[in-house]
């Protein structure tokens, strides 16, 4: 409240995914050019889980992204960059003082926040979702300058509001989590990073020994979609279907539940290392993503006219989801044995 204004020369660029956007922006700040899909791929942002026994906003929970901070942490680890993550603080004041100290040293700092009380956020997105990320890069008295990659321009937020979003409660509470990069070595081993990122993505999408995670989870969801209208009635089925579409298309995913970003990553790394298999996989991923979008178009018709007879048959939608799962499985089979 007393200190003089601090403004770090940080470039804000809009991105599809909050965390990989923040990570790539931080890399760029330290002078290493990294695109958003690259950060997303190396940090293994792609994921799928379907948890019908948990309810998020009154509908079964599903996630198209990894747990919070995975992208940042893994891209640090796989590229051998010196970064720091503080998982939680004991109280609010301590967390804000740590942030202020960082800003005084000139370090832009990433934070995990909850979306519900975020004042500058689009009001229609303000639901209880605690896995959002933003980067703080300046302070003027009571105001913090914030770069949120979902928004087009940098924003400001007051001290009290920032405390509230950093200490949002509920599932996956951030507890003041913050992270930043200390230094980046001159030569980065991108090849190794891409290799490890792909390996981990393949594991998480196809090999996790739990039936609700990855491709298996998609198949379970496809089966459940077919059952919804009988089990819950038309209105509820439409709302549950809407939850899938909201998670996949809205909430800053870049469209189709990050599948476009992952395909873009495959293409970029395929071009960099001249790898034909990766380019083929990228093409397939792109077509899968287009299929996701088609699914949205069909599903949204049911959501629009909820009370009467469904426009699209739920069995058709379920079959479509199975087809998508099959296509994604092919992609991960293809890149499983790739050596970059």
């Amino acid at each position: 409240m007393d200190s003089k204004p601090i403004m770090i020369n940080y470039t804000h660029r809009q991105a599809g995914h909050c965390e990989s956007g923040a990570t790539s922006n931080l890399f760029n700040f330290y002078g290493y050019k990294m695109s958003e899909p690259m950060a997303f791929g190396i940090g293994t942002g792609i994921y799928f889980s379907y948890l019908p026994f948990l309810k998020l906003m009154f509908a079964p929970m599903m996630s198209f992204r990894n747990l919070p901070n995975t992208v940042f942490h893994r891209s640090m680890k796989y590229l051998g960059v010196d970064g720091t993550v503080i998982k939680k603080f004991s109280n609010e004041r301590e967390s804000m003082e740590a942030l202020d100290r960082n800003l005084e040293k000139g370090i832009p700092t990433g934070l995990q926040v909850g979306v519900f009380n975020l004042t500058f956020f689009p009001p229609e997105y303000r639901m209880h979702y605690n896995m959002h990320n933003l980067v703080v890069f300046g302070r003027e008295g009571n105001l913090y300058h914030v770069s949120d990659t979902v928004m087009e321009h940098p924003q400001t937020i007051t001290y009290d509001d920032l405390v509230r979003v950093r200490w949002a409660k509920g599932a996956f509470a951030p507890k003041g989590k913050m992270y930043w990069i200390n230094s980046i070595p001159k030569e980065l081993d991108i090849r190794n990073g891409v290799q490890q990122g792909i390996k981990k993505s393949v594991y998480e999408m196809t090999k996790v020994p739990f039936w609700l995670i990855g491709i298996k989870g998609m198949r379970v969801m496809a089966r459940d979609i077919k059952k919804w209208p009988k089990k819950h009635g038309n209105q509820k089925a439409a709302f549950y279907l809407g939850q899938i579409l909201r998670m996949a298309e809205d909430f800053g995913t870049g469209g189709a539940g990050f599948r476009y970003i992952f395909g873009s990553f495959l293409k970029e790394s395929g071009e960099t290392f001249n790898n034909k298999e990766l380019l083929e996989a990228a093409d397939l991923m792109g077509r899968t993503a287009n299929k996701w979008r088609e699914f949205t178009y069909l599903g949204a018709r049911n959501c629009k006219n909820r009370s009467s007879q469904p426009v699209e048959d739920y069995v058709t939608l379920g079959d479509m989801m199975l087809e998508i799962a099959g296509m994604e499985e092919q992609v991960f089979k293809k890149i499983e044995k790739v050596t970059v």
């Binding site: 229609e124 579409l245 909201r246 298309e249 809205d250 189709a256 959501c303």
Partner: protein, 134 residues
């Protein structure tokens, strides 16, 4: 005043959704991924509208219940912050079964100020507002 109360309780029924430009990716026939900044399409707006319509419906229902004396104000405010009993129990630090009981007027009447303050903190209102419903 109107504006600030709207900020705290984001229920925007008549809002035209999708006014914010976001980064969107596409994949075309030639095999190129493109990203551009643009507005969300029609289907995305429809699903958002659907969710907010349901929330508004639930809040209105809870309000009627409270006015009829069938539920306690905690029920109404819980719907207003879009929470269910489980997430409210996490937010307020009260056990799940207590939250469910406190939604009934009988148990709400016997609540002490300490517990009320916990709820009020989660709802971001004062204890007086919680006691005096509308």
């Amino acid at each position: 005043m109107e504006n600030s109360s709207e900020n705290k309780n984001p229920v925007y029924k008549d809002q035209n959704y999708g006014q914010y430009r976001e980064m969107l990716f596409t994949y075309d026939e030639k095999g190129n991924f493109q990203n551009s900044v643009g507005y969300h399409g029609e289907p995305d707006r429809v699903v958002l509208q659907q969710a907010w319509d349901l929330f508004a419906e639930r809040i209105e229902e809870a309000r009627k219940k409270v006015l009829a004396g069938k539920a306690s104000p905690i029920m109404y405010y819980m719907e207003k912050i879009l929470a269910d009993p489980l997430s409210l129990s996490m937010m307020a630090g009260v056990s799940l079964i207590s939250v469910k009981l406190h939604c009934k007027p009988f148990f709400f009447k016997h609540l002490g100020d300490k517990t009320l303050a916990k709820y009020a903190g989660a709802f971001n209102i004062t204890v007086e507002q919680l006691k005096k419903f509308e």
